[in-house]
Symmetry: D2
Subunit: 344 residues, 4 copies
């Protein structure tokens, strides 16, 4: 079985394992206060061109999301999110478990528009019963989205502007950030993101690491005492260096960006193949997730050899599916898939 | 600086890193449903002599504690714990953040006595105002405790009996379980623990792993839907195999127990040296943490060369300190320390 | 200004105030353990024809909802509700504040259909990623709904059946229960409701009381330790007798049902008037809330003299509004309103 | 049975019932936005000599405590309280249910000392592991305390100073505030309290009202969006006027202070009688709760005729008990009790 059903099917980039081996018996203090973490943070600050941001490492995306969001909101506030947002659909109510409603907004493609945030906020403050409804307290976006789509610099700037206007911190879930930056139509760099978002995280789990996400806080108002929140939610790794070492390797000599390209290039192979065969797509993705709408008979055939995810019924005879590539995807696997699609 | 201030100063046992390398590019499904996890679970079941227990892997101890406790308690219930318990003193209110009070009981040595649990429970149900107080809903113990002390089979049986009598699930935090089982005066084995506790966890972070704890559920009533709780609290690792691989190695050919002995043997060297010098101890520990009461002048001297933890002021001239050893502690480091103490 | 904007604009039924006066200086024990509460409970049991139900009084509807729901759900579970449900739209995230997601289902008229519950539940358990989504743990309905609509005996039975099949407790929010039972097309009685729901509450605040709701628990599994939950959420009134006295009066000689009729009769006057004028309705309500779609010019005119609630824009020239009547509504006020509509 | 076991055994002061009758059929808007509430707030502001404070009415003390505390604390913060504080001992973990640990400090008499707050705060920030412990985020006191003791102006000023120094909002639970102000040794007035506390509440439930507490916020930083919190916790009464009317009556012509005196005078009768008989007291109370240590034989005798609360075993033959008086206590009842004590 060749796996295209997710972007976390393999271990870590070999350079990471190598570094773990080399540093294994060195003694360091715990809880992320070691020199590996320091070094990794310096590299990330440099890439963000922001010397003053705070950086914290945690084990996974749901952890990052719930810690960030619960640290920002007041008890009566909710977080605005696309209805397709990971926090609204795939985290078993993790945000609600910290006491907050996800204020889900209809999204066709996984993205949130500045105008939508404005509309929701204005509707709230103009509602005579607004005290009977959770107040919007921040905005959550994912980039790339769960549907593989991305924000342009223009779109993100517009979102950032409206968020600043209404004093709503803008939080970007970058679980697949590398794959967004590697997209052919990408117009954002790390410095843009650091400028336009109040807080975001750089995904490691899906982009080369064994596990781990780097939370970057650029808004000074959100920095205070953040480590308490990490500890309270069970996300402060005793051997914090594990996370430091991984991000130190990932952000050495541009490795993070380099390995992201592989995923996107191979995804484009799949995309083009499907396009050439005349298949439509559920979403217009330029990143490592592709959502072609395939005939059920082809899906059945491919399922014998490849693992991938049925996404949504399209009609009686066709279904949208998801193929994921990653930093680790072997070109020969994609070539095999592409050939089998072409044979159809 | 030679580090004795904690038992998580190094990376992982080399066999674990070796296995991570060997398996790195294999493709597996996510979220702990892979074969490595399966294999590790089988080994743990065998050692527990319990084919029917459920096993789940999470990243760290606070995570394990908050997930287990919040999954068991009803909203109005609290968890009985020694006042020295990790959940009461070192988790930034993680249990309270899930809505529950820690019902802390005075403990001189880190242990909870069966009679204390009985007393607290009886006092509660006989209180005419009991509805105005959180109801005791379960019992938390750590073994070894935060003070290095351990439960005998007799003591644990007595606790188990009183818990069964009052229908209070008994939960053992085994963050340092290996070091407890390796103690010279140990009378418990894994099967005893599996029989006497309703739920417990086997610590990996402090005993050979990069990170990770194995939660073992023996009480069938506590098994249902446990994975939802893991996911909701942000503790379900996408690459769950990382945890499976580590525990698979640790429970192969008794490695976990073997490496635990190293820690305890070296701790005993420190203990005997202090005893021979006539120093008293804050707690009577037979495990990898030692709490000698040392003259401040000696502490000052040792601090130049060794990292260790000041625990508690004893009197004007003496302070209790903590020395930790671990599976990774080098004998020569302990010998150096011991010599320096002897020189005093 | 004549008020039709809510059903809680006046104080209490005079019989309640009279009883409060008569009993004022009597001494009773606190927290709802007094004889007035006992007597009120007996009356409610009799009317429900259920000797074994448990009854608890609390101050208001949001309180009742959050206590009931948080007492039933496990941490990872959510509550199924119509998207129009009070808990989803008018309680400032009170349910989320207790840690649970409201699983909102599209509803055109405020009602939830048995088929919808079945579909949601089946979709959940058949989702391969179901552990990544909050599990449905119970069903919340309001009767009458926030839109004035009601469940027929047949509909409620179907809901009850599907809930029993899936082991989902069925909870009815009866904030306006009296007005539902007084509807011309009503097919339910208190005994039906007690049989078909696992737990429900009888609204006092909107039906004759100063404040207060009576929670009735018929499912034995939901009864245990309920008072702890009431106390923990700050809903256990020290002078619990205040609630007992009020419900004792309301359920004496059918007063509750009698006064409910007034509201519905007067609402029907408004309904018929609007119908005769050819106005359409946003919802087909047979209870005390009416939602006619009125020309904006008429609304402007009426607003000078009457308080009522703009509900929803219909088109450029028309808006759906809400008129509420209650047990206290004066017939002459309705006659004035009706005349003014007729004049248009 | 003559009741001295609590200060909420009767209904409301007759003037309140009278006003409820007079205003019963007036129509008002809901949720505390009516003119009765406005009028009551004006009166309280005047008495506090503070035109800029915000005032909110809620139904009960636990509600007031949990709303105030959860609105102020950040998720990782706890509230400092005497271990005897109501929030720590009689609210079923209501504070923990909102996610926060009560940081309980040993108190002999129910009071918290400025030096204790300083010590706790300094210990926290100087703890190298402070991120592993909930941070002190505010201070809770009750005045009079649960033990009947009171703060002098000097003591409250010292507390206020240390709280300001450490940026810890000071919150006073004034469930029995009237009885504290009526004490012979009282040195505080409402203006002092408004100046020295950041937020406090004036208890109605135990001092003349049917139910209700008035939360007064003097620190501007704590005012924003407070009503959202009230609504979310289920404490926003639909007929908010019920609370407004009650406090409007209580603060008309000093009624609140007047009726408080009755309680204290009668309590002093009990106190003096016990003193004259040579009985000691568990606490030195100058307010409406008295805690004499009585011979068990006397307690047995009195129990036949009077309801009162056994507080704490003193020795084999003696037990501390609690007698409560209130605004409603009849002098003849106290005289009967006093005579029966004297007969002993």
């Amino acid at each position: 079985m060749l796996r295209f059903e997710c972007d976390y099917a393999e271990g870590a980039h070999p350079s990471i394992l190598k570094r773990l081996m080399e540093t294994n018996m060195m003694q360091t203090p715990g809880y992320g206060t070691d020199d590996f973490c320091k070094s990794a943070k310096e590299k990330i600050k440099k890439i963000c061109k922001n010397e003053n941001c705070d950086i914290h490492f945690v084990s996974g995306g749901t952890q990052a999301n719930l810690i960030v969001i619960s640290s920002i909101l007041k008890p009566y506030q909710g977080v605005i999110s696309a209805d397709t947002g990971h926090i609204n659909t795939h985290e078993t109510g993790a945000i609600e478990a910290t006491g907050h409603k996800v204020l889900a907004i209809k999204s066709g493609d996984g993205k949130l528009k500045a105008a939508q945030v404005q509309e929701v906020y204005e509707a709230h403050i103009n509602d005579p019963n607004h005290e009977h409804v959770p107040a919007p307290g921040m905005v959550y976006i994912s980039h790339p989205t769960e549907n593989g789509t991305t924000y342009s610099k223009e779109e993100l700037s517009a979102l950032s502007d409206v968020c600043k206007k209404y004093n709503l911190p803008l939080f970007m879930d970058g679980a697949r950030l590398g794959y967004g930056l590697a997209a052919a139509d990408n117009t954002l760099n790390m410095n843009d993101i650091a400028k336009l978002c109040d807080i975001f995280y750089i995904g490691g789990t899906k982009v080369g690491a064994l596990f781990g996400e780097a939370i970057v806080i650029t808004n000074p108002a959100l920095k205070k005492d953040f480590r308490y929140n990490i500890k309270q939610r069970g996300a402060m790794l005793a051997k914090g260096r594990m996370l430091g070492i991984q991000f130190d390797v990932l952000f050495e000599d541009g490795l993070y960006f380099e390995i992201s390209k592989n995923a996107v290039e191979l995804a484009m192979l799949i995309k083009e193949t499907c396009q050439n065969k005349g298949f439509k797509f559920r979403y217009e993705s330029t990143t490592n997730q592709q959502f072609p709408i395939l005939p059920n008979s082809l899906i059945e055939e491919l399922s014998k050899k490849y693992a991938f995810y049925p996404w949504e019924k399209y009609d009686e005879n066709n279904t949208a599916v998801r193929f994921c590539t990653s930093w680790a995807t072997a070109k020969e696997n994609v070539q095999a898939l592409v050939e089998d699609i072409n044979k159809f």
